[in-house]
């Protein structure tokens, strides 16, 4: 990113923070948390200890960060190197991101950047300019993508409460600031479980590693009645609903399952992972030393803010998480597809200088498709 753009974004972010200190708070037990931040074009600064909101606000004003992070873990000595921090416990966090849900990029919402010639164009298998296949993909605002991530959050919530016994009050949903959600489970009995255990919880949620025997399918002495039923609790019931569709279908499907045999059922279970498993990022859940974007801070991949979601159904990230003001600014942009923010449509722009509200300019600059004039 060029210096002019960096200055523009730093100033815009700083203004946002100055005007929205009310959104930015240190979490509970702040002196046990590790904080970190990144600057535009800079590396990560970690192992920072902050004691209060005032410390945090000072850090934001002094450093003009592009991104701010805080650990879900509590440590005795959060500012020491990792091995000396003395880990105490950590909230469990689940990350559901649109990129992990899609089988292919949404045609109308994705653009490609060629790594060889830097050409930006709408979705294509190769660069229309130099035919290179070394491409990076950038998705812009996509309501369908948000809808699918919301559906996953709802399904995850059900497993957390029904299966894992987590109190609904302890589950908090945050929009990640780009194209996903972070689901925090705090004050639960899982706070002090380690990384391996969390990986197992992630596998459970993702429906990974199931075996036919779990659902009553044995290699020998097979009995129809032991296969999952609609009224079964947990994955048994969920699998039954997915497998049979309707109760009246059960006998027919059961016959198919039985005649297919053990290996085919095993294969089917593996396939079901994609359809009924919740698409969380397991690496996030199992990492007990990670620092997460701080709620209330801006995500420099989009210029949108990571915020608490009170009503998931009604939540529209492209309106509710877009806090940058609408002062008109001039930018040069190459955005071959349309996007929508604060209920306004922008683009397509063909390598041209345009005047847009600052929130749209920031969004495009963060996505790497615009520069300030």
């Amino acid at each position: 990113m060029n210096t002019k753009d960096v200055t523009f974004l730093e100033d815009t972010f700083k203004k946002f923070y100055f005007e929205h200190f009310d959104l930015l708070h240190v979490p509970d037990n702040p002196n046990q948390r590790e904080f970190g931040y990144q600057k535009f074009n800079g590396g990560m600064n970690r192992h920072i200890s902050l004691k209060s909101d005032k410390d945090l606000h000072l850090l934001l004003m002094q450093n003009k960060p592009s991104d701010v992070y805080c650990s879900n873990a509590r440590y005795m000595f959060p500012n020491l190197p990792m091995a000396e921090k003395d880990w105490q416990n950590a909230e469990i966090i689940f990350d559901i991101d649109a990129k992990d849900l899609r089988k292919e990029y949404p045609k109308d919402n994705t653009l490609i950047k060629c790594s060889d010639c830097n050409e930006i164009s709408s979705l294509n298998k190769s660069c229309p300019n130099c035919q290179s296949t070394k491409l990076s993909f950038t998705t812009l605002t996509c309501n369908d993508c948000i809808k699918s991530t919301k559906d996953e959050v709802v399904k995850l919530n059900q497993i957390l409460t029904d299966d894992l016994g987590i109190d609904q009050q302890n589950i908090k949903i945050f929009f990640s600031g780009n194209e996903g959600f972070h689901i925090y489970v705090s004050k639960s009995e899982y706070d002090d479980v380690g990384s391996k255990e969390r990986a197992e919880i992630a596998d459970y949620i993702m429906f990974r590693g199931s075996i036919p025997e779990t659902f009553g399918f044995r290699k020998f002495n097979m009995n129809k009645s032991s296969l999952p039923k609609f009224e079964d609790v947990g994955w048994g019931g969920r699998l039954a609903k997915h497998l049979y569709g309707t109760k009246s279908n059960r006998p027919k499907i059961l016959q198919e399952v039985l005649s297919g045999g053990y290996t085919l059922f095993q294969k089917r279970l593996e396939d079901f992972r994609d359809s009924i498993g919740i698409k969380i990022d397991p690496n996030v859940t199992q990492d007990i030393h990670r620092i997460f974007r701080l709620p209330g801070s801006i995500n420099s991949k989009s210029g949108l803010t990571k915020i608490f979601v009170e009503d998931l159904k009604k939540f529209d990230p492209y309106v509710d998480a877009c806090f940058i003001d609408d002062e008109e600014v001039e930018v040069v942009t190459n955005c071959p597809i349309e996007f929508s923010l604060k209920k306004k449509k922008f683009g397509p722009f063909n390598n041209e200088q345009v005047s847009v509200p600052k929130f749209a300019a920031v969004y495009m600059m963060c996505k790497g498709i615009a520069s300030s004039v």
Partner: protein
Amino acid sequence: MVNLGNDEIVKYPFLAEAGKYLSDKGFSLEQFGTDPDLKKIVENAFERIITASEGRIFKSDFSSNNSALPMEIFSFLIAVILLKLSGMNTLIRRFSLAEARRAEKFLEKDLMNYQDATKTKLSLQILKELFSVTVEKSDKGFTILVRDYLKHSINFYEREWKLINRKVVNGKVHLTPHETVRLVRKELDRHIYTKINSSSSPDMIIGFETYVDKLKQLAKKFEVKTVESKEFPPCIKHAIEVLEKGENLPHSGRFMLATFLLNKGQTVGQIAPLFKNAPDYNPKVTIYQLNQLSGISGTTEYKCPSCEKVKSQNLCFPVPACDTIINPLQFGRKRV
């Protein structure tokens, strides 16, 4: 602590304080080496070790335990002394595992003892005090908190122990009595092993020398020698192929490849060029990350992920030789 009667100590002899038990019964260790009436106990103890070393479970003779000389308990305690005198760790390991499996059988039986509620209560108490596992009785079996279940189940490689293969309702895992006890086998084994290892080693006791020598000879039988082929496992070959083609290898694949090669003794400088063809190759980042994984930059030296993990990341392309391994690092290793 759990209050144990004689018949409970027979089942769970590792719960008794050895020295105290002997002196309470009016015996000293030396007597076992010299008193012809006690010779049978030493022979029994020796037999108990041999049985364990062969992977079998020692059969208990409960008839003797109501006598003044509870053979079963003594044989365990003397077996521990013989093992300590031999100093053969491999035998101690085999012995503690066999004793854990023996105790497991009794625990399971006691858990299912619906006629005598005190037996169930006692076994639940043992599970709680020894392994901090709170087990509750349910209609059809037992339940345990998911958190407690995971603490133990992560030690198992068999897929049936994965949480996904359990009935999980409202934060609790449902288990049969057998599964409940099986869950703590490893900890039971570790408990017995630690207890034996941490007990003080006595000086050689007259009359024990022959047994101790035999144990030393026996331990040699279990020395394992292995040879290793230079061939890479298919998951690693696949990862290298993907990179060579210039295709994108996911982060988990890069982690697996790098840790595998580092664990096999390759240097960061030898490994780094492999990533040259990656679409997002950045030499600085590559070296930084390899240094992190190798422990050069940080303090942790990362280990190559298990086959289970590799499989769950869709990076596994098994061949028949993979059937007997649980980590890619073991590929091509054979006992001779």
